[in-house]
């Protein structure tokens, strides 16, 4: 997948996953919104599923990142050591520097 949108965040950068409060189809789960993590990997740029879901294909590609969050930051009752983490993919427009 060749990116035609350069990443705005570098691996290791601290980021907040913002809640865009956007109705309709999105791929950012509720459980990570307003949480802070670290850029783990730049996946490349992909068409926005929020557009594709309504038949608007062939649109602009958006940078996609793997973001790593600590489980203790996601769940108040997390059962496990502090080192446990979770990684998921977040599109650029859902991120801001933390």
């Amino acid at each position: 997948m060749s990116p035609n949108a350069a990443p705005t965040f570098a691996p290791g950068a601290r980021v907040r996953i913002i809640d865009l409060k956007k109705p309709g189809h999105v791929r950012t789960p509720i459980y990570v919104r307003e949480k802070v993590g670290t850029i783990d990997h730049f996946c490349g740029a992909f068409e926005n599923p929020e557009e594709r879901a309504y038949g608007r294909i062939g649109g602009a590609r958006i940078p996609l990142y793997r973001v790593r969050l600590m489980q203790r930051d996601l769940w108040p009752d997390y059962e496990g050591p502090d080192k446990d983490s979770l990684v998921l993919e977040i599109y650029d427009h859902w991120l801001q520097p933390a």
Binding site: L20, P29, I30, Y31, R33, A53, W75
Partner: protein, 106 residues
Amino acid sequence: MAERLNSDIGGLPADTVPRDETPQLFWEKHLIATFNVLRAKGVFNLDELRRIVEAAPPEEYKRSSFYGRRIDGIADLLIEKKVINRDELIARTEDVLLKGTRDHVA
């Protein structure tokens, strides 16, 4: 906080993970194949199917099964795109059930 999509269930309480393994039924495999062919032909894309499945009322989603969501989603998407007619699908489905066999389908 935004409203949670019905499919956005990460972190919600749930029971023990069901472990019984049942092989896919023939029709379920045929449904997946049909889905693949429709996507390959550009009739719809995967994101559209997800969006349609998410549009089901939450109570319906909670009660739904995996292949139930698939056939309902694909049908609803094809109806939305006016590829097929809803009333005709209902009538034809009842017809199949009435005949009770699969023989007449090519």
